[in-house]
Symmetry: C2
Subunit: 499 residues, 2 copies
């Protein structure tokens, strides 16, 4: 068998290492079938001389190709394209490695079929398709619900704490899957004092924001045939997380803008109920004591767990926030969820889940298996921020700031939009629900605002099923007065235009 004429076929040029170029081109020609299995390559001495490179270079390439199985040495007879590739080389193997010049494509001796299709690709869930088409979010826009005022964050003080932690060896390896203990202690202390939660740090699990907490709950609690009750309207993130394994989501109605606890028994069995008792999302109602007791009673009677999402209880303006349902009684059937995304920064991606002791181990297993641990540096910095008292001071400042913004935004709404939208008074904290007084396409309005680089969520998107009311959910925490003028005027224009 004649030796392959490598020399005329290889082009070494430019700044890339010669060894890499030679390896690349030889391996490509073997892979695309140009150099057929069992054919002979020139000796390293010969090829080095022909190409004008060192013999070491050619030897290194030949060694690599041998090791990988492209070529084979046959005693003293020389180097051959591996004969096994005959039976292995499949019809679909045509293709070019990245970074390889394609000048040789035209001269390829064998006509090969196009690359094969991929194996079957998973389908998207219908919820996503619907959502992706209609409601496109840009979470950095002013008025985006859930976005805090980033300009008010004490970034210098925060960075000082970061610098305390950044070089600690113990924060560089693998951490506790439950979360960094000093942070769990700080969270437990904060929740006991400020939210009336009954817990020790052993019941606290640090999560990647509230979303991971909800997702872990779905992993751990839901089995075949289990049903999940969700407030309607309610928080979409919870519905996505709790419905992601295909379980039935049952809409639970509201009364006075809060969960209608008396309606629950008629809805049948439930494994989980997701709710926001201290500030219904998005409508803003609060469950009073009598309803809270009835809720716990319902859960106990129905062997159901309550997911208490306490998402912005830090920012109530009129009273101190109501104590958490979790702390109402001993052994409450409650999985308590919170997050630092709104009280500190969304980019930290840190939240927490507080569960009764027997639930800790299953949740940790689900967390470990799904890999959602928070970087230790972030956890330790938050712990120091809380322990030093700066967290409580920051919350106080934000409460004042958001109250002012809430007032300012309501003023604008009354001034520019009076008649077309009614602000739902209970919705405060960081967002305001503007219910449309006449029927309108709130998705189109949301897109119109988006076009003006202003965030919002259509109220209709918060409903499960077909019934809905139109309006907008607008997060005022991230908006300044200029944005408020802009948004309310843009809405007024949109409403007044014939359509």
């Amino acid at each position: 068998m004649p030796t392959i004429n490598v020399t005329d076929d290889v082009t070494l040029e430019g700044d890339a290492p010669l060894q890499g170029q030679l390896y690349q081109q030889l391996s490509e020609r073997i892979l695309d079938g140009r150099y057929t299995p069992a054919s002979r390559l020139p000796s390293s001495r010969q090829l080095a001389a022909d190409l004008g490179v060192s013999r070491n270079t050619v030897n290194a390439v030949y060694d690599q190709l041998k090791a990988e199985g492209f070529v084979q040495g046959q005693g003293g007879r020389g180097i051959f394209v591996h004969p096994d590739l005959h039976r292995r080389m499949p019809p679909w193997s045509a293709g070019t490695r990245p970074g390889t010049a394609s000048t040789h494509r035209e001269t390829r001796p064998l006509a090969r079929p196009r690359p094969a299709a991929l194996p079957s690709v998973p389908a998207m869930p219908p919820a996503f398709q619907k959502r992706a088409l209609k409601v496109s979010q840009d979470a950095s826009l002013p008025f985006q619900p859930g976005l805090p005022d980033l300009e008010a964050f004490p970034i210098r003080a925060w960075n000082r704490l970061l610098h305390h932690q950044e070089s600690r060896r113990s924060l560089q390896g693998y951490g506790d899957v439950q979360g960094y203990r000093p942070l769990r202690q700080a969270v437990a202390g904060y929740l006991r004092a400020s939210r009336g939660v009954r817990c020790t740090e052993d019941q606290v699990i640090i999560t990647q924001g509230a979303q991971q907490a909800l997702s872990l709950i779905a992993d751990v609690f839901l089995g075949p045939g289990d049903r999940v009750f969700c407030e309607n309207p309610g928080y979409r993130g919870a519905r996505y997380a709790l419905g992601r394994h295909g379980h039935e989501l049952v809409p639970a109605p509201l009364k006075h803008q809060a969960l209608d606890v008396d309606a629950l028994p008629a809805l049948g069995p439930a494994r989980l109920l997701s709710c926001t008792p201290t500030h219904q999302y998005p409508m803003g109602g609060v469950l009073d004591l009598s309803q809270r007791l009835a809720l716990v009673d319902w859960a106990r009677r129905h062997d159901a767990w309550i997911i208490e999402d306490d998402y912005d209880s830090e920012f109530h303006f009129h009273h101190k926030p109501f104590a958490a349902v979790q702390g109402l009684v001993d052994q409450a059937p409650v999985l308590y969820v919170g997050s630092f995304s709104k009280t500190l920064l969304p980019a930290l991606r840190v939240g927490y889940l507080v569960v009764p002791e027997p639930v800790v181990a299953p949740v940790l297993w689900a967390k470990q298996v799904s890999g959602g641990e928070t970087p230790l540096l972030i956890q330790s910095t938050i712990a120091e921020f809380i322990d030093s008292g700066q967290f409580q001071r920051h919350l106080r400042r934000m409460r004042q700031l958001y109250r002012d913004k809430w007032q300012a935004f309501q003023d604008r709404v009354h001034r520019h939009l009076n008649g077309a939208f009614t602000p739902v008074a209970e919705s405060a904290g960081m967002h305001l629900v503007l219910e449309a007084t006449a029927d309108l396409d709130d998705v189109a309005l949301h897109q119109w605002l988006r076009h003006h680089r202003l965030g919002s969520t259509p109220l209709s998107a918060h409903f499960l099923g077909t019934e809905h009311r139109p309006g907008l959910v607008m997060g005022f925490a991230s908006a300044n007065e200029h944005h408020m003028d802009e948004a309310t005027r843009a809405m007024a224009r949109w409403v007044s235009e014939p359509r």
Copy 2:
């Protein structure tokens, strides 16, 4: 109805704010049934005078209790415990709020049953129970597989980059669920150049280490009846992630310490095959070109996807690492997984997943719903570390360091353990597999080392099913020469002792 004698029943003391103490004690007495529904509380004027506190304090507490539904004003007739609580107060409500003195427990007028049991608690999966009993890991110990040498990490240079990024406003809000674009660009560039991966940044998804990548793959790809092939022995993290929804895990045998591709067709249908083609975990074998082509061919014929876990390809000592299977052909049926836990720091919790374009959207949906996003500050610092060339320099240094450690550890093994254990030569990179030459209880040996504050994993724990070989997987990257002496001597003692 007589007015409740609150004054004799309330104790205000210590440094805590009086308002909080009064609220706490009144709410507790209402909840525990001591102050019965519809009974009357003293006027705020009266109570303030009796307790010697300001009337504003009492009014604030009464307002809060009214808002929450503990009490009710009845026109001019006074303040009453809310009458609705009669029908709501369940038999299980006995209990004390956190921080409340329990001195009143003895005088509680109504004997109440103990708190009710929790709703049913989810069971732990059998895999965890077995594992938790036998193999307890402390991921910070020397010899723990997967732990890099933290002392060799250039923490000062790293922190300088962190300081470049730490105050950027754009890194404080919500990020792109796919990952920070400059990091995706840096990862794509690195993988193209160093691993032969064919991708753009639009195919790269930043994950929380390799574990989240594997978990997302399970979420997205596995439906009813789907089967998953796993190398046996193999990486336990992959088995846990891919088996977490209860799918059948089929052990795929090895040949020459690498996946036996020829054995796959006989195993029946598969949706996913999880493998480590460039460095089998833990045994260390490498698939040659012929086997790689056969693997791709098998996947195409069986409508299966290959998960290519390229976990430590950066640390091959003899040759350059073989190029990834992903880049072998166009449109390879490969989901490529990698991580910075070993090349940078475990605490960063950052990995990546590279998938064909049509797979990107379903994975992003699963990622968004399960909440696993990486803090932007960490992502941007890694991007700068790569772009500045420091990543490649760090890898070169680590490759040299780990080669020296590998040699040093092998020397110790031969010196102190010769005969009892055989180092599996192919297992290099960051760990060495020591196969026991005689049958032994490798879990007990693992625990013995653990007792000496030395890490390891029993080789038997890497097997699916009942067949297994005894030995230890030892990660030498995190060990110094002193640890190496200590570990090999401790193992020699353990083996020599009668048992």
